[in-house]
């Protein structure tokens, strides 16, 4: 049985800097106390501040206010579990920051489980001086994974496009930023639309659709060097890039057949393999975590619905996955074969 979830992401376009706000989290958050880290005040303040907001943003955590702490243990041995039970605290985080700018910044930290009366994690993050936020994101992901059993995403990065529409001309800016929206940097600025940015699995490259040549074309750009190239040279539109998990293949939507069809491009030898053959729209391909299946949107039933192709059985008909609602599109697989996520429009076309 597959689980279907609906994902809503609301970037606040009024601010130049991206602001991601989760307005409601888990009903039953893990209750955590963060003991003020020991070390240089300025560094400690930034690290703990970012750590708290990372955990709260995940929606899975409640962080006890510092004023509510009944005691400040300086190490695991000084923790009195009964005291923390009173405050209903499940986990305690202790740590310190050894800040030797400009040479190194190191932060060892521990997580104590109040119910088990045990230390459940002891870890050290070796940071980059001047990049304390990054260091906090690593600590936050360590806490998230230890407590929830799921990998955290605070140390990851996001790609997004900002459109500045004016009456005479427009600017389209492709940005990369930390998962919390901080540390925003421009990857591409264009006078024409940019859509569908996609990370390569090693996060060193991105693929995206740019209209700079006058029609939709897929480019690959090296994030570190800024080098970019058109993935294919032809006279037709190309769109919807998605990287295979090993980074060697790129699935694309090609329009050379007079209609949107999905192909797989081998990035080394530029060989193309056609995946779909239908007179209706087939687009928005995405790869399963093990690379053996492709999920895509097709209009073959009369409205957009999600379908799946098994790459090990290329000659069989794609199987339809969604039946409820008349607009289910742009699906992607969850890791560990837990299901798929996709935006869905209800019958009244109000929600995306």
């Amino acid at each position: 049985m597959k689980k279907f979830l609906i994902l809503i992401l609301l970037p606040n376009l009024l601010f130049a800097e991206l602001l991601l706000e989760i307005t409601k989290g888990s009903e039953n958050p893990y209750r955590v106390a963060i003991i003020p880290f020991q070390g240089t005040n300025s560094s400690v303040n930034i690290i703990v501040e970012v750590l708290k907001s990372d955990l709260i943003r995940s929606g899975e955590f409640f962080i006890l206010d510092e004023e509510m702490l009944l005691s400040i243990p300086s190490n695991i041995e000084e923790i009195k579990p009964s005291e923390w039970k009173l405050l209903n605290i499940d986990f305690i985080v202790l740590g310190n920051v050894i800040d030797e700018e400009p040479f190194s910044v190191v932060s060892p930290y521990q997580i104590y489980d109040v119910n088990k009366k045990n230390k459940i994690r002891s870890s050290t993050v070796f940071g980059i001086p001047g990049k304390l936020r990054q260091l906090s994101h690593y600590i936050s992901d360590g806490i998230y994974e230890t407590v929830t059993g799921i990998k955290g995403v605070s140390a990851t990065k996001i790609l997004y496009v900002n459109e500045i529409i004016n009456s005479t001309d427009s600017d389209y800016i492709l940005y990369v930023a930390d998962a919390d929206g901080a540390n925003e940097q421009v990857l591409l600025k264009s006078s024409e639309p940019i859509i569908s940015p996609a990370w390569s699995p090693d996060s060193k490259k991105i693929a995206y659709v740019s209209f700079e040549t006058g029609m939709a074309k897929v480019f690959i750009q090296d994030i570190g060097t800024g080098e970019r190239e058109l993935v294919l040279l032809n006279d037709n539109q190309i769109s919807s890039p998605a990287w295979s998990p090993d980074g060697k293949l790129l699935s694309l939507t090609l329009y050379q057949d007079g209609n949107a069809e999905i192909y797989i491009l081998n990035l080394l030898n530029k060989n193309l393999t056609r995946l779909t053959k239908h007179y209706s729209i087939d687009t928005e391909s995405s790869w399963s975590p093990n690379g053996t299946k492709i999920l895509f949107t097709s209009g073959r039933s009369g409205a957009p619905q999600l379908y799946e192709i098994d790459l090990t059985k290329l000659n069989t008909k794609p199987s339809r996955l969604t039946f409820e609602g008349n607009y289910n599109a742009k699906g992607s697989y969850l890791p560990n074969n837990e299901g798929i996520v996709f935006p869905s429009i209800s019958n009244c076309f109000e929600v995306l």
């Binding site: 994690r121 002891s122 993050v125 591409l188 939709a216 939507t253 209609n259 076309f349």
Partner: protein, 164 residues
Amino acid sequence: MTSNNKSIISYSFIGLFIASCSSVQVTEEAVYEDSIQSIEVSSKRAESSTPTESKAVLANATVYFEFDSFNLSSRSIQALKSITMLMQDNSEIEITISGHADERGTREYNLALGQRRAESVADYIELKGISRSRLTIKSYGEEMPMIQGSNERSWARNRRAEIN
């Protein structure tokens, strides 16, 4: 660095000792940060390769579509008839057909939908005896709305194919 490594090793021993019944994760991580290059492209939109002076007669029209549809309405067909007649009488006219979608739905599906709308227009014109080589087809999906706004009136104006 070596002293740090030593302290980690001793941590792990303490960890195993205290938590003999449950496991303790003892790890080390180094923050990894890529360098990032930003680049800028600007393009003058080359709408037509034909020099303007040779275009004595201009073929311009906009036709509109229903939600998630690329069928031509009878009104659209009237507009396309006059375009086709113009092109029959003026063999030098070449046109670009740009398909568009409203903001609802996903960007890539809308890009494909806009392309289908442009194709519908092209198919009709071709059916009336105009060579496909005189037609350039493209889609902007939902990226170039004619008017801004999230209401039925704006959406109806934005679901279109522009001929010029």
